[in-house]
């Protein structure tokens, strides 16, 4: 995908849509597109993987290896969502394995160059970091909703010893 097409793609994705023109231009300049087939692994839990991804089409499952349970799928990432923030945040390793569940297309941005760009241009850095924080916040909320087990069996035991209660 050429630079112009990349810019158009970035403008269409939720994560990057609101960025000003110069941010889009700079992002496009260091990014590239990446295509993977269903079943391909994008990165592994524990790897040092220095790329940030935005999903343009398809679906990617995030899994963690739990001793005794095997690989547990925690989350499916869909259109417009991002993956692989660990490199951008300069953390040591990926916290999950990412496997495509459908043929997928992504925008890939090397995090070392991205961080250089942020250092050189603090305003760009601030906007990008803000957007990452928002996306993480949304991911956190979604995780909490999963954690709440909203569809689970009745979590609290009703005070059923009282003969007045328990009306059906």
């Amino acid at each position: 995908m050429d630079d112009q097409a990349l810019k158009t793609t970035l403008r269409s994705l939720q994560f990057s849509a609101g960025f000003p023109g110069d941010v889009i231009r700079q992002l496009a300049a260091i990014s590239s597109t990446h295509e993977i087939d269903a079943g391909d692994t994008l990165f592994r839990e524990g790897d040092l993987h220095e790329k940030l991804y935005l999903l343009v089409s398809g679906k990617v499952a995030l899994k963690m290896l739990v001793p005794g349970r095997g690989e547990v799928c925690l989350l499916t990432v869909g259109l417009g969502e991002f993956l692989g923030w660990s490199g951008f945040l300069q953390q040591t390793a990926m916290t999950a394995t990412a496997v495509a569940t459908e043929d997928s297309k992504l925008v890939a941005t090397p995090t070392r160059q991205l961080n250089d760009l942020c250092e050189a241009n603090p305003s760009f850095g601030l906007q990008l970091t803000r957007r990452v924080a928002q996306a993480l916040s949304r991911r956190l909320l979604a995780t909490r909703l999963q954690l709440l087990d909203l569809f689970g069996d009745t979590p609290m035991a009703p005070p059923s010893n009282d003969p007045q209660l328990g009306r059906g």
Binding site: C73, L75, G78, L79, R138, A142, D149, L150, F151
Partner: protein, 304 residues
């Protein structure tokens, strides 16, 4: 000056009536006998019951709008408010109404132990329905969680009965785990009839190839709809519906096109007993279907 006849003004323009019949309704406490015609297990604690009216004449007159509920009465145990989960067009034809019931309390637990042929009581239908007229010529998104798919199933049947009247139709369904996907055997048929179905689970089991994550994420990534010309209905746990509404607003759907179905302790179903109040709204008669912009001001206050 002419004195009024009595101390209660029952003139045509006055507020009070002597009975529900004057308003074209049966008495609020009129109970019909129904017998269990068929029981279909859905999940470990959920089953669908076909309830048949013993009085065939009453069956013919019974009119259901999608989203309404009945009070099912087990004498000696009590009543439970159960949404009807059936095709509105089928009911007068077959004289049976389908209810999908989870066993959570004494009444539903007793029903769960019943057999085909057993009888119970039915009062209804009650409540405000899903506004199907809001769907005409629009894209429609149904967001369901857990057993919240049951009160939305009548909407699905109604949409698929005349798909040309509507735009693109989506069902986004989230539940706990793959073994709690309800009505999953119908998804293929619905897809064939024009409903785009996506499902997701909170926690995967080995072998699950579908999506994992909350159902609001499916709404976040959904394409193929025009936010400015979309109506959204949601039913499920209150927190799930709340965040679905917030996500819908974020996606650009006007707040007047967002509807949800609320649940509260219901005993009379007609606004007399006071149990189901949420702010000024009686969930039984002003709801259970509400437009989000009205009910949100009360939903978001803890312990109201």
């Amino acid at each position: 000056m002419e004195l009024p006849r009595s101390n209660l003004d029952l003139s045509p323009g006055a507020a009070c009536r002597t009975n529900s019949l004057a308003n074209g309704l049966p008495g609020p406490w009129d109970v019909q006998t129904v017998s269990i015609g068929d029981i279909r297990p859905e999940l470990s604690d959920v089953a669908t019951y076909d309830l048949e009216f013993v009085d065939a004449e009453f069956a013919e007159r019974y009119e259901l709008q999608p989203g309404q509920f009945n009070m099912l009465y087990v004498p000696g145990v009590g009543e439970a408010a159960i949404s009807v989960s059936d095709d509105p067009l089928r009911i007068p034809r077959d004289g049976r109404i389908r209810h999908t019931i989870r066993s959570v309390g004494r009444v539903t637990g007793t029903i769960a132990d019943m057999q085909v042929g057993d009888t119970l009581g039915l009062r209804g239908p009650f409540g405000q329905a899903w506004p199907m007229e809001e769907c005409a010529d629009r894209d429609v998104i149904l967001v369901a969680g857990g057993l919240g798919l049951a009160p939305l199933r009548p909407v699905i049947y109604s949409l698929l009965a005349q798909p040309e009247k509507f735009g693109r139709l989506h069902l986004l369904y989230g539940t706990r785990s793959p073994d709690s996907l309800v009505f999953d055997k119908e998804y293929d048929a619905w897809k064939k009839q024009g409903l785009r179905v996506q499902s997701t689970v909170d926690r995967a089991t080995p072998g699950w190839r579908g999506d994992v994550g909350v159902v609001t994420s499916l709404l976040n990534t959904l394409r193929e709809f025009d936010p400015q010309n979309t109506t959204l209905f949601s039913c499920g746990p209150e927190i799930m519906m709340k965040f679905t509404m917030l996500m819908a607003i974020e996606r650009g759907i006007p707040v007047e096109r967002l509807w949800l179905s609320m649940e509260r302790n219901m005993q009379c179903a007609v606004g007399f007993c006071g149990h189901c109040q949420l702010g000024p709204a009686f969930v039984c008669k002003d709801g259970p279907v509400f437009r989000y912009d009205y009910i949100s001001q009360f939903m978001n206050i803890g312990g109201l």
